[in-house]
């Protein structure tokens, strides 16, 4: 063991010393119990029954109680208990149903004292009375609990659990006559030892068997129970009805539970299956164990605190044939490894995050946040009134709310609702959508639609007025481009081979040209971004308070100068999305942005690359009086779609994809398309635009997407007469041969859309009911209900 720390505790004269250590047993242990002098421990199992002395450095075998030629089943122990008043007295419960007592004071080698063979099935638990020297209690699989007086040969009284197997029995430490018993069916019973006829109280504590229980050593009436349902519950038995005070959810069924001495809210648990660790919980913090002991390699079967007044020593026995002493100081503390910071978005764009209290306090003290003028967002901090904990980590929760009614994504909803995606000629669709975009003040998008129309539609006059005002920054080049196209479009059609060839040749030269100028443009672009550094910096300065809180814990970011450049890429977008970007110049490239959380409009920054390449073309092609095949642009359109999607405006990407249909589909790989579709549909559904989302699903050509609205389309109907499900047809019941759904207006069977009132459950054809309710507010069936149709 590498853990060598030593603890010395003074306990009323006696001194406990020791270290974390373990010793190998010959066989798996089923239970352990400590002598009251805290210097010896007894280990019992199917084929082991030994007493070990706990010395400072090691366990020393002191006595083997398994004597005799033939191992008897009486020695196959399910449980063992050491009397807390008498150092010489032990009791074991055998798997064959025998209760054995042992007297260490006997001079012979065989220390077996008495044998009680009254139980018919395995005895699961034995328990001595905490103060009475001769009283022993046992609980068995046969559903009985028996109380033995060790001065007599057989039981004094029998308590019946109504043929439910008893899993644990425990005398109350505080109330002399009371004991608790737990059962396989999830019940817990309280008994008065003087009244064997019926239990004082019974309640259901767990779902499934309750494997263990333990009375609180100090608080009268506190009982902890552990069950197969992986829960530990703490009950207050002093009230009229047993009240559940705490509940700890563990990861495996709970086999043993033991209150930790001197720590009012701590208890230790071990599990019966799969999980080998021992946990110490603070019941007020039910999610993260306060301490964890990981020494065992197989399930822990027995745990015991070494001394009733010392909280630092825990002993345990395990199926891996080892006995361990754990020191609380050496325990691993999951809390330390836990990340006390959390960050999450709410459904409506709220942002909540929790961080270590100390950090939050320091931050807010240093730099109180002042609202950002340029962002219509309302920050509000709600400090959670967390319990005053002696715990190791406590976090403060902050919630940032978006301003209610801020309409942060209004444009998105409007656009989604008003766009036309199909059912009209391409030109009209483009025009319509351009108009919509323009009305919403999204000029660049409008521009794009117009350009698409130009590219893909037959020549037609474009109202140039549309364009002149629609451009933001690179407007002049864009305008130029458009004009040149208009000219070309109006020119007579092309057709001759030579022209085509030439145009091909041109294309080649174009690429060269394009390449060189593209770099040029990019540079320009960069410069522009740099130029806009001032507002960006300003922004950063504003959010610094929060961002520091988020990142300070990361050692990499603790450097005072660094955060800015990091934040630019990572931290900022977090807020950027909920912010409704005002239609002003902004040059923040959302690098980490995914289409899924789109919302940031692709603004002017996007204009530069798109427009410039076009402008380039226009320059070279203005010389030729020819029209290019639409295919020529598909690469550019593709890039444009990618660009929009990357900007977060997946709406645009999908809309264009749908409108253009076959014209571009083949250029974009299936997966990307599918990704766009699903992202857009997801967004639409978040905004509850069910109709639009369904239309998109319908119009999509991707198989994975279009099958979305073919799942779970079944509507199960029960017959209104016999209440049985109608399997074959929705309107005739197979069983009672009656038509189930009649229209209350026309008294015919409804086979299609059926609408019914949720108040009186009458209804009928959608059309009929609508018409009826226009004229009357009462139910058409005449039941007198005032139906409402909304």
């Amino acid at each position: 063991m590498e853990k060598m720390s030593r603890v010395t505790t003074a306990l009323g004269g006696s001194v406990l010393t020791g270290r974390t250590m373990h010793c190998h047993l010959d066989a798996p242990a089923n239970a352990i119990s400590v002598c009251r002098d805290a210097a010896q421990v007894v280990v019992a199992g199917r084929s082991i029954f030994k007493i070990y002395a706990i010395e400072e450095e090691q366990f020393v075998e002191k006595l083997n109680l398994r004597v005799g030629r033939k191992p008897s089943l009486n020695l196959s122990c399910a449980d063992v208990v050491w009397h807390q008043m008498d150092e010489n007295l032990l009791a074991t419960a055998a798997t064959n149903g025998v209760v054995v007592t042992w007297n260490l004071g006997r001079p012979s080698r065989n220390k077996q004292d008495q044998l009680f063979t009254e139980h018919k099935r395995t005895v699961n638990k034995v328990c001595f009375h905490p103060t009475e020297a001769h009283v022993l209690l046992s609980g068995s699989q046969d559903g009985f609990m028996k109380c033995f007086d060790l001065r007599r040969k057989d039981s004094v009284s029998t308590f019946s659990g109504q043929s439910e197997s008893v899993r644990d029995v425990q005398f109350s430490i505080r109330d002399y006559f009371t004991f608790a018993s737990t059962f396989e069916n999830g019940n817990v019973q309280l008994w008065d030892i003087r009244r064997p006829d019926r239990c004082e109280r019974m309640f259901t504590a767990h779902n499934g068997p309750v494997f263990c229980c333990d009375w609180h050593p100090e608080d009268r009436g506190w009982l902890a129970t552990g069950g197969r349902d992986k829960m530990v519950k703490v009950w207050d038995m002093t009230t009229h009805r047993a009240k559940e005070m705490h509940c700890v959810q563990t990861i495996a069924s709970v086999a043993r539970v033991k209150w930790r001495p001197e720590c009012r809210h701590h208890l230790a648990t071990c599990s019966m299956m799969v999980d080998h660790n021992i946990y110490v919980w603070d019941v007020r913090r039910p999610f993260v164990p306060a301490a964890m002991f990981e020494e065992h390699r197989d399930v822990t079967t027995g745990i015991a605190w070494r001394h009733p007044h010392d909280p630092s020593f825990l002993l345990s026995g395990s199926k891996d044939s080892s006995l361990c002493q754990h020191l609380f100081r050496d325990a691993s503390q999951p809390v330390e490894r836990a990340n006390p910071e959390g960050l999450c978005y709410g459904l409506f764009g709220d942002l909540a995050f929790a961080a270590k209290e100390s950090l939050v306090a320091a931050e807010s003290g240093r730099k109180p946040y002042t609202g950002d003028r340029r962002h219509p967002i309302f920050f509000k901090r709600k400090l959670d009134p967390a319990e005053p904990f002696a715990g190791l980590a406590s976090s403060a929760l902050s919630v940032f709310e978006t301003e209610p009614g801020g309409g942060a994504m209004r444009w998105f909803v409007d656009t989604a609702e008003r766009y036309a995606l199909a059912g009209r000629p391409l030109a009209e669709l483009c025009d319509h959508n351009a108009k919509v975009a323009r009305e919403l003040g999204r000029n660049q998008v409008a521009q794009t639609w117009t350009m698409l129309r130009t590219i893909y539609c037959s020549p037609g006059l474009l109202p140039t007025a549309n364009l002149s005002h629609s451009m933001g920054k690179g407007g002049s080049c864009g305008l130029q481009l458009m004009n040149s196209f208009n000219l070309k479009d109006m020119a007579p059609g092309l057709g001759s081979e030579t022209r085509l060839d030439r145009s091909k040749g041109d294309a080649r030269s174009d690429t060269v040209l394009l390449d060189s100028s593209a770099t040029l443009i990019t540079n320009e672009d960069n410069e522009e971004t740099e130029g806009s550094d001032v507002p960006a910096d300003y922004l950063l300065g504003d959010v610094e308070g929060e961002d520091d809180e988020l990142y300070l814990l990361d050692p990499e970011h603790t450097h005072p100068e660094e955060p800015e450049c990091v934040l630019l890429q990572e931290a900022f977008p977090l807020r950027h999305e909920i912010v409704d970007t005002p239609p002003g110049p902004e040059h923040l490239q959302d690098k980490a942005d995914s289409p899924h959380v789109s919302g940031s409009e692709a603004d002017v920054a996007s204009l530069a690359p798109v427009d410039s390449s076009f402008s380039l073309l226009s320059v070279s092609h203005a010389l030729y009086d020819s029209r290019l095949p639409p295919d020529f642009f598909s690469v550019l359109v593709r890039d444009m779609l990618h660009f929009y999607a990357e900007q977060g405006d997946v709406q645009m990407a999908v809309s264009v994809l749908i409108v253009l249909g076959e014209r571009v589909r083949k250029d974009i790989d299936e997966q990307t398309q599918e990704h766009w579709y699903t992202s857009y549909i997801d967004l639409l559904q978040r905004f509850r635009l069910w109709n639009v989302s369904n239309e998109v699903v319908k119009l999509s050509t991707s198989r994975a997407v279009s099958c979305l609205n073919q799942a779970s389309t079944t509507l199960h109907v029960n017959c209104s007469h016999c209440k049985r499900p109608m399997s074959s047809r929705g309107w005739v019941c197979d069983r009672c041969h009656r038509c189930a759904s009649m229209c209350a207006v026309c008294h015919h069977v409804v086979k299609g859309l059926f609408v019914w009132c949720q108040g009186c459950s009458h209804g009928g054809h959608l059309q009929h009911i609508m018409k009826w309710l226009e004229g009357s507010s009462h139910c058409p069936a005449g039941c007198g209900h005032l139906c409402e149709y909304s």
Binding site: K70, G208, P209, M273
Partner: protein, 483 residues
């Protein structure tokens, strides 16, 4: 749709002599060949309840013969159907066709054509690939890998080790995830046990098989016509001892009641010594060796058995190593595998937690089913009322576990000897270990005074005990793999 019946060797001899004798039509109608149809007919309320359950939980949507026979115990039927429905239809790690194919594989270990046919239909209905039904060579390697565990689980579950589990779950192209494996194991154990019930209760083939899809097996009952004629003229060497007349069987019942009472009283005053107790288990285990499975006409060596069977070729396409069968647990003196100590790995403490962790909710359903069957009682024994049958139920349950090498420390195996007569032991052993060899004669020869519904109850106990035994071994191996 006439069912074909196997001919026992005796009849075959007769037939060979006299070629004119034709195989007659089955003499019993109704869901079971053992139980007269009128016995299965129920009161209206029960029928309604059963119909409701079938509607709710049946996968085929119709009242099959198994359900009809089980509806003698409606309470149990509900938990049975619920758990079966859950493992076949509800959320689970395995795809639906897989589940049915695994059921087919399990049933094939016992040549249970009834279950195979049922699941061939379901397999195709749930979109299974028809080609798979040509045999194991046509299924993915992954399913084929399940063969070994299917074989062991069906016949000698105590041989399952963590190595078998490791082989299946170790990463590779065809590996099983643990949840999938647990699902498969639950299905296998369920259908092995159900095959026991089908043979033990003489379930008849479904009356109106749907249009053959080419993969259905010829429905063959394993009972010879001579069984069905209920003709006791054929002398039966091994059972002649228990061939009581009516008077005898009446006194037989009285004697059993008497023994039960005595055992109950004995408990109070006299206790057997510990050594005695442990030797009693060994004795019972050994004795089960000499309980010959099947009657003499059917207990021919397997090779001969196989060669005589027309259907084996059909069934064997779903299994490998058809010769592998139950081998008495006690017989393997040389290897001496340790007895499974029930207290060290119980269903309630360990099995449940593991199965529920890996395949959520099935634990609760199985738990309910086991409890239900174990606690089911009407406090009647044949004509007697107000009888506590706990002892008898426990003896049946533990005897089955004993044959699979599971020992309860707190059980006195002497009770088995006292309570279960030899003909019953023969029946139990056949039904749980070689269900395909069950005959009507065996079914009839024990507990003559008891009602059919009580005998069905016995079958249910045997089925669940067997399922639990298989599950315990498999889950223990998985636990060992995990630790």
């Amino acid at each position: 749709a006439a069912a074909n019946y196997l001919l026992c060797t005796n009849c075959r001899k007769v037939l060979r002599k006299d070629k004119r004798i034709r195989v007659s039509q089955p003499l019993t109608r109704g869901p079971s060949a053992f139980i007269p149809e009128k016995e299965v007919v129920q009161a209206n309320t029960v029928v309604e309840r059963t119909n409701f359950l079938v509607e709710e939980y049946s996968t085929s949507g119709r009242l099959d013969n198994i359900t009809q026979v089980m509806s003698l115990h409606t309470q149990y039927l509900e938990s049975f159907l619920r758990s079966q429905f859950y493992m076949l239809r509800m959320d689970g790690p395995l795809p639906l066709p897989y589940r049915h194919y695994i059921a087919i594989m399990a049933a094939a270990r016992h040549q249970c054509s009834y279950l195979i046919n049922m699941h061939v239909d379901e397999f195709l209905k749930t979109g299974g690939i028809a080609e798979w039904l040509n045999g194991l060579e046509y299924v993915p390697q992954r399913l084929k890998n399940l063969n070994e565990i299917n074989k062991l689980l069906a016949h000698r579950p105590w041989l399952i080790t963590k190595e078998h589990i490791q082989k299946l779950v170790k990463t590779g192209e065809n590996n099983w995830s643990l949840p999938e494996l647990v699902h498969a194991v639950v299905l296998l154990a369920h259908y092995h046990a159900l095959a026991s019930f089908v043979f033990g209760s003489g379930i008849n083939p479904e009356r109106d098989p749907e249009i053959s899809n080419g993969f259905r097996l010829i429905s063959v009952n394993n009972f010879c016509v001579c069984d069905l004629a209920n003709d006791n003229n054929i002398e039966n060497a091994s059972l002649s001892g228990s061939n009581f007349g009516i008077v005898d069987s009446l006194s037989e019942l009285e004697a059993l009641m008497e023994r039960m009472k005595r055992l109950q009283e004995e408990r109070e005053d006299e206790e057997a010594s510990q050594e005695e107790m442990s030797t009693r288990f060994e004795k019972e285990k050994k004795e089960s060796l000499f309980v010959v499975s099947g009657d003499t006409f059917h207990s021919f060596p397997y090779s001969e058995f196989e060669e005589d069977m027309i259907i084996t070729s059909d069934v064997s396409r779903y299994i490998e190593d058809p010769g592998f069968g139950y081998e008495d647990f006690a017989r393997r003196g040389e290897e001496h595998l340790p007895t499974f100590r029930a207290q060290d790995y119980t269903w309630e403490n360990h099995g449940f937690s593991l199965v529920n962790r890996l395949y959520s909710d099935i634990g609760h359903l199985l738990d309910e089913k086991f409890r239900m069957v174990y606690n089911l009682t009407y406090n009647t024994m044949a004509t007697h009322e107000d009888v506590d049958t706990t002892m008898l139920r426990r003896a049946l349950f533990n005897y089955v576990h004993c044959m699979f090498g599971i020992r309860y420390d707190d059980y006195d195996y002497g009770e088995v000897n006292q309570l279960l007569e030899r003909s019953l032991k023969v029946y139990i052993k056949t039904v749980t270990c070689y269900p395909e060899r069950t005959t009507k004669r065996m079914y009839d020869s024990y507990w003559r005074q008891f009602k059919h519904s009580e005998k069905v109850h016995v079958n249910l106990l045997l089925m669940e005990a067997r399922m639990q035994a298989e599950l315990l071994y498999a889950l223990r191996a998985i636990t060992r793999h995990l630790t």
